[in-house]
């Protein structure tokens, strides 16, 4: 595989990751969200492996496998089981309507493009141009967490944000040191268990997973 071809494949994967991030923003159905999230993980994992292959960095294979195991199988499976057990309504609603959310998303993409401009100029790596996409994915995950009002969708937004971070790590720097990556993966796994417990807690105390019920803690005047 030549450098240019790898760069091309990588940018296609970056585009796909961005596309799935947008897909997550507009998907209404909860299982659809899970599938999109899993696909994002697949693209992320392939991209990590490609970067690892071209740069000859073998620790990236480990993180690719880690991504595949965690983001494509484990987390969607945990969420699936939770959704199934909690018998959550199949539809998700959003606070802002979809076209507006999309436009906000596009604005965020442009914003992150500008923000990463200085870094892009400095980078000599094959993957340099994907940093903007990574930051955009982070921002879109943030946007998803703001616009959605169900606990499960917020969590998926959070995980998508984490995907963006991971992608940033591979695209900007060929991956963080392995110690850090393992630690981050561990943290995410713990977080997954915690939100699992949370779903049950929220469910038993509020009788639903709608976060709009949770508006008690405000500054009262």
């Amino acid at each position: 595989m030549t450098q240019t071809l790898a760069a091309q494949i990588n940018s296609v994967l970056a585009a796909l990751i961005l596309l799935t991030a947008f897909g997550l923003l507009m998907q209404r159905r909860i299982y659809g969200l899970l599938h999109l999230f899993a696909w994002q993980g697949v693209f992320l994992s392939i991209s990590t492996a490609v970067v690892g292959y071209t740069a000859g960095l073998h620790h990236l294979y480990i993180s690719a496998i880690l991504t595949l195991a965690l983001k494509v199988f484990a987390l969607p499976y945990i969420l699936y089981v939770l959704i199934h057990k909690l018998n959550i309504k199949k539809d998700v609603e959003e606070m802002v309507n979809i076209p507006t959310t999309m436009l906000m998303g596009i604005a965020l993409v442009i914003f992150s493009y500008h923000l990463t401009a200085p870094v892009r100029e400095l980078s000599t790596l094959v993957t340099k141009s994907t940093l903007a996409v990574a930051l955009a994915t982070v921002m879109l995950g943030l946007l998803m967490m703001i616009t959605r009002k169900k606990a499960v969708t917020q969590i998926i937004g959070f995980l998508a944000l984490e995907n963006g971070l991971f992608f940033a790590a591979t695209s900007a720097t060929y991956g963080m040191p392995l110690v850090v990556e393992l630690g981050v993966a561990l943290d995410i796994l713990i977080a997954a268990f915690i939100f699992g417990i949370f779903f049950f807690q929220i469910r038993t105390t509020f009788d639903s997973l709608e976060l709009k019920e949770m508006e008690k803690l405000k500054e009262e005047d």
């Binding site: 071809l5 091309q8 494949i9 940018s11 296609v12 970056a14 585009a15 796909l16 961005l18 596309l19 947008f22 507009m26 979809i98 076209p99 999309m102 998303g105 596009i106 993409v109 442009i110 493009y113 141009s129 994907t130 903007a132 996409v133």
Partner: protein, 313 residues
């Protein structure tokens, strides 16, 4: 010069002649897919022929617009057939009118059809016109965005130049083009009134869009409108081919390539027809309220294509 003018004429004649054939092919495949016996490839020709021999009935209160609209629409489509490189890039018209003009030509056609729909003063005509304009107002920005993405890659808005660039440059994986293609496909579905946006075969009051507008037409007027509609489908398909898969098209002063161009175009259009049938058989027509969302997605895709051109290429 003579050569290119003759090519231009050849292409317009080809578009006029082949458009019903393409529609016939799509209908035939669809019949097969549904397990019905088809009326054959040539049925659209027979329909047009039949309509030309029928009398024209015009509502008493219809104005000149109603009478002129079929000719304007038809003319616009013929003009578009001269702009889009279908078999060759060597088109004088294509050099004088770029892709923005092309979108405008289609807009003129639609504008007059919509006016004519309202002109007769029936309820369905007005409803169809308003729906058509809603779809159009959403489809056009997405269409322009998607085409601009390709213009960015090619560095020109002239269609023949764009085709020329993609013919002469080596094959590169470009995410921007993939996004643009997806967006273009979605827009083309909306523009040509296919499922899932509109159903060309229905005359059900509540669901039709395009058919509601032209409900009042008869005789040769209807023939022209039908023909123009078939040309529009054909042209959008060949525009897609020209923008995204131009390989095999004849270049400048290259008459020997023409037979190859015809064959490759036929093959590509046959494949596109099959794809249309596949999509239309699998999907149901969506509710009109979901159309803005559908076209919103097209717009997002096109914008993403443009952004990824800047970000990734």
């Amino acid at each position: 010069m003579i050569y290119s003018i003759s090519i231009e004429c050849l292409q317009i004649a080809f578009v006029l002649g082949a458009a019903p054939l393409f529609v016939g092919w799509v209908r035939m495949l669809k019949c097969w897919a549904h397990g019905r016996a088809s009326a054959g490839l040539l049925q659209p020709y027979r329909d047009i022929y039949k309509l030309f021999y029928k009398d024209v009935t015009i509502a008493r209160n219809a104005s000149w617009i109603f009478r002129a609209a079929p000719y304007i629409t038809f003319g616009a489509c013929v003009l578009a057939g001269g702009i889009i490189p279908v078999i060759s890039t060597d088109l004088p018209l294509s050099l004088s009118a770029d892709v923005i003009a092309l979108v405008a030509v289609f807009a003129i056609a639609r504008f007059f059809t919509a006016l004519a729909g309202m002109d007769a003063g029936t309820a369905f005509g007005g409803m169809g016109s308003s729906r058509e304009m809603m779809v159009a107002s959403l489809a056009e920005p997405a269409m322009l965005m998607s085409v601009f993405t390709i213009s960015l890659v090619a560095g020109s808005t002239t269609l023949s130049q764009m085709v020329h660039v993609s013919l002469s440059s080596p094959l590169v994986l470009r995410p921007s083009l993939a996004f643009a293609l997806l967006a273009f496909a979605l827009v083309a579905i909306a523009e040509t009134g296919r499922i899932p946006v509109d159903n060309p075969a229905t005359h059900l009051e509540l669901t039709m869009i395009h058919e509601a507008m032209v409900l009042e037409y008869s005789g040769r007027h209807l023939a022209l409108i039908e023909w123009a509609g078939e040309m529009k489908l054909f042209l959008f398909a060949s525009l897609g081919v020209a923008l995204f898969f131009p390989w095999g098209m004849a270049g400048v002063y290259n008459p020997l390539m023409l037979p190859v161009a015809f064959v490759s175009l036929a093959a590509k259009l046959a494949a596109i027809g099959a794809a249309i049938v596949l999509v239309e058989t699998r999907l149901a027509k969506m509710r009109i309220f979901h159309v803005p969302e559908f076209l919103g997605i097209a717009f997002i895709l096109a914008t993403l294509g443009m952004l990824s051109f800047f970000m990734l290429e």
